[in-house]
Symmetry: C2
Subunit: 178 residues, 2 copies
């Protein structure tokens, strides 16, 4: 941030405002304070019989690696709406959302990743501008060494563990890379 | 947003960028696109014996009404760290965080509210710049008609229901006011 987005001044300071404890961009001309806060990524682990839906990324980051459909939650939508929208946008799949399943705090990128369990409602899915391939995988065929994000690996691992014991539990954990 | 925060130009358009589906502020000079996304509020329902800790707000919005300690999650912290920090800042209380308990999507303000169950680790708590009073309440004394936010009311209601049946379950729901 180099200029104040309210008054256009270039007189910004990165400092701790009064009654605050963290540095923020502060406009020395108009007094505006600019906050940035973590973003929420919402996604879904979509089931069909004994298989789960993965998408091979057609965009950066992690181009060519496999992921669960997920993306940035948008203003004015619910987490569920966001998870269903991202699934549709990335895989063309329509889903019935079930329970919230995993939540991860990622401090190094200031994100929270939140995944639902879901059922595919039809077998219609396929590649999109964001996904070069979209496929159902049974457990033995999951491409574990080509998964795009650690939160996807963990969500899949929990899923197969929980399925074996017959009970799906909401999981929440922290990932601190540095 | 009136000026580009990267180049200072006032030539901004609120439009749908290429390969997107929602309007964003776009700088027609330098090509920057500015995204805004929902914020996460993290808080805690803090227990001591049969009582829960509430704080009477000393700030707007909802000045003078009672709340669970909660506030904006900050960059580079986990949801748990944020909930503990907000509790300390608003009530001076130190807590042991237990399980994630409620999550609410609030579409009208583009927020997700996420509350943990927690135990007070000591009986030290008290007023702060953000809270004019901080008190423990047993169920019959909860000031139900003076609670600051619907997500606090719902979290308290779920808590007393769940405590009666002896089992605390993670709850997730949507609040759409318009």
């Amino acid at each position: 941030m180099k200029y104040c987005s309210k008054c256009g001044s270039g007189n910004l300071e990165f400092k701790i405002p009064a009654d605050d404890s963290l540095k923020r961009f502060c406009c020395e001309e108009c007094g505006s304070i600019f906050y940035t806060n973590p973003n929420i990524i919402v996604g879904a682990l979509c089931m069909w019989e004994d298989k789960v839906l993965l998408a091979k990324r057609n965009i950066q980051p992690r181009y060519g690696l496999w992921t669960l459909p997920a993306g940035f939650m948008e203003n004015a939508e619910t987490m569920r709406e966001g998870a269903a929208r991202e699934t549709l946008e990335e895989t063309k799949a329509k889903i019935e959302l079930l329970q919230p399943y995993t939540a991860f705090s990622l401090t190094h990128i200031s994100q929270v990743h939140f995944f639902y369990l879901a059922n595919l409602t039809t077998l219609e899915f396929g590649p999109t501008s964001e996904s070069q391939e979209v496929e159902l995988f049974s457990e033995p065929n999951i491409p574990w060494n080509q998964i795009a994000f650690p939160t996807v690996t963990k969500t899949l691992e929990y899923f197969f563990q929980d399925r074996k014991r017959g009970y799906f539990e909401f999981r929440e954990e922290d990932i601190k890379l540095f």
